[in-house]
Symmetry: D2
């Protein structure tokens, strides 16, 4: 990654002149656009943009650019985010018993593939249950939960999120349903992996449902968590071919591969500011 | 295809000795097994098999083999089908306005890719609406339908099916829902192409539903028609990646490619006796 | 497609201010940017851009915009193309005996999927050999070729290209190798479909080569024709899974499906000005 | 996995009666066939079969079945293998610096997905270089190698293989070329992962070659090692889409995902006796 690189994402009502205004602002601030993608949603009249740029020698400091962007944002009624890529996002990982997604995310982080700081791992099960994953020195929090203690447990997770200044929460096969209130607090910054190709097979035991129905492909879906279970904005999906020979256990096994790559891609897209919310959908500026 | 080739498919309660019995029968009848695939459904205890064989010189005639197989079938309580591949299946194609699947099936038939006899084309629209497809000399039947005349129209199709000794009816984007009675008559020999990845997006306008939901892949499903709409046994499915840029019209365009290849594969599997019903599911012995 | 829509593609040495200059020019000319994609090739220092825009009411006429763009192009040393989408590209189709790609392209054109004018079909075989495709009223030219008459035959094709103001030549399974001189004349506007996943299995009978080698996937490659056979810039590729059961004939059959969809996508990308040459490679701004 | 399950694989010159002989033998020995797949190679006249069976109560002991199979094998000139699934294959993993395949295989083994015993890990680099993978208690052997010491190093690996009764050697991104002699010793039981879609981009730095050529998909190939580098029988391949935006580093990253899933599948197929050599090709009886 180049020095002094920053990423600007924005959305606003579409009107002529937005690209010219943004690109001129950056040019005049002494910046060079490295990548830019945009999208006009004709249905809603909304405009979306992602710009990666770096400051050339003699360019204006980041704060000055941020101030100029904020001014522009006001003029065009933009929602925007601006982040220097040197400041990595801070991520908390939640997991229950199946740790294949957790192990995969941690490995990718260790080899430098995912640009993030891991603020901790939270599980409703004891650390001994995460036996196949090397957690190293990562802070681990065992927060068991029952129907009676759910409110307290979520409050404790929320406290950890705030204390660690966590930007993103990843439900890496965390098999608890977040309460409406907690989901709302985490809107747009909590990614779940559901082990089916949504909207097919919502709810529990999707591989068993898929086996029962006799589908010829199974899939997984990474989406932002919302109070509507399995209805949040979809970030990434993928599928794989199965056959009549596959038992539900085979589907679980084949599904693990799909889940971990779908979740890893979604997390990566989020970490690189490639995902912008568009109502109940997402705009994903793919590399 | 080799001379004197025949295909035997069967299903029965599983018990030891079935493969030995079938292969010994064929060996003693002077036949050589060219391909054999089997499947034990552990859940239901049912056994499925597909055997392709040809008669060697001096082998017993087809009728004698058929009689021996029938006897064996009785002993093992087998449902079976036995067909000489020289006798191609007879297929009727039903279509409404969108003719991409029809054009594709006819082209594949013309170049010898699909081993079938086309007994006719039925549409609820006039021939002039099928303007982009060269129907050649294929019999075309314009059978318009309204809610009031549906019973008569289906009776007329049924009459054509019987008259032409049609083995298989293909709904190649035929946008009418068959009545329960008609579906029942065609059980296991009527294939529909639904333009979504079932069970997602049942019913009307699936591409618009998919766009609305913001999925990242769209698909198509070929299934046997049953009285339960979009719930029949699935034969084949496939998907393709889409993005936030795709309008519903783009999905319709991309979907055409998926639909025609999924339907062509399902029809091919059926024509080659590769599909065996297993309750509400299918066993597909893929090449 | 919207009225007064135009597509600008350009490439030039990268330097700050290009996006600002282009977007400001269009804004000041009374145009609205509908889509924009760009790419910085860090290795070569070259910048690529595709902009789709339409003129708003009161916007400057196309000729004035074209003049302004030409001026800008000079300033930034840009290679560029500017086309009103209402002016469709003119396409000539070359074919030998296998007509599955031809039939597919013609069908897609008939239903309005490919925005082009077909200027004619050229084959080294007689029209009777293209028996499975309905050519309708499209001009057909039978131009047989032998080693001795190749120069004359190519001269005749060239005459037809000029006479019909053909923009793009598509080798839709045209099994003759173009001479170096002819390839050079058609640089950047002649697309070939090769029936392998290049660079694997160059040259003749690639499916037989693939069968011989025992690969587990076969593919097809659409590329611009250059004097170096099978070495031209790749526009699109795709693959499909095969197995040990597949004979070379099966590969030919499965390959037809890959070939026609890869070629159709490549042609579509070209027709929509999505492909920009980058040395021996292509930049493809995918929708 | 059921008790007393065994897998028989065989290949022999094709002739009528093989399936009957095998299935009758198993039936009479008191066994039930759970799965059977076969393949006739028409080109070579060779027949291949894989049978999974279990002994029913009162069935003959494994040794007796083995003796009967050996007798049958002699009669039909069969090459065969017979293994009780309870006896897992013993696997040695070789690795250099990139440990993503190693980490993946070990994780799959830990959660019980790959039925194998790991006999040890060998690397030409020190254990400290395998920093991102938790090796646990697995024996690790640092065996550095130079051109001068290659013969001794291979002799030492060979000694370890024999000492640990290793059945299969996996080159999990082991970046040393095995000598011809060592390759010959390991014929049919050494799997390598090559980071390209062979036969494209043989040799060193395949992702850089792919980037240079401008292909639109990259892939990986798992194959048995032979003295002919990158020419061994292919077991499994897969690909993923890339774009002009991808730098060689991006290809390396995307490639890691392909490599590890292709290698894991190939190893799994081998461990389950699904792969049978057919000259320079493989027959893979996929589940």
């Amino acid at each position: 990654m180049l020095e002094h690189t920053a990423i600007l994402t924005l959305s606003c009502p579409n009107r002529p002149g937005i690209v010219a205004a943004v690109s001129t602002l950056l040019f005049e601030a002494g910046c060079n656009i490295l990548d830019a993608q945009q999208f006009d949603d004709i249905e809603t009249g909304r405009f979306f943009m992602r710009v990666v740029f770096n400051r050339l020698e003699g360019g204006r400091p980041h704060d000055a650019i941020a101030a100029a962007v904020a001014e522009l944002a006001e003029r065009f009624a933009m929602a925007f985010s601006l982040r220097e890529t040197a400041r990595k996002k801070r991520v908390m990982l939640l997991v229950s018993k199946f740790d294949h997604c957790l192990a995969d995310l941690i490995y990718r982080w260790r080899i430098g593939e995912l640009p993030m700081e891991i603020t901790g791992i939270v599980s409703n099960h004891a650390r001994a249950h995460i036996a196949s994953t090397d957690l190293g020195d990562l802070p681990f929090h065992h927060l068991p939960v029952t129907r009676q203690t759910k409110m307290e447990q979520e409050a404790e997770i929320w406290r950890l999120i705030q204390e660690t200044r966590t930007d993103l929460v990843v439900l890496a096969r965390y098999m608890q349903i977040l309460s409406d209130g907690f989901s709302a607090k985490l809107a747009g910054r909590c990614i779940n992996i559901h082990h089916s190709f949504l909207p097919g097979f919502k709810g529990a035991k999707p591989y068993h449902q898929a086996h029962e129905r006799g589908v010829k492909l199974i899939g997984a879906t990474a989406h932002y968590v919302t109070p509507d279970l399995d209805e949040g904005p979809i970030i990434e999906q993928d599928v794989e071919r199965i056959s009549h020979r596959d038992t539900p256990d085979d589907l679980v096994r084949k599904g693990r591969d799909i889940e971990r790559r779908v979740l890893a891609r979604a997390v990566r897209h989020h970490l690189e500011d490639r995902v912008v919310l568009n109502g109940q959908k997402t705009v994903v500026f793919i590399d």
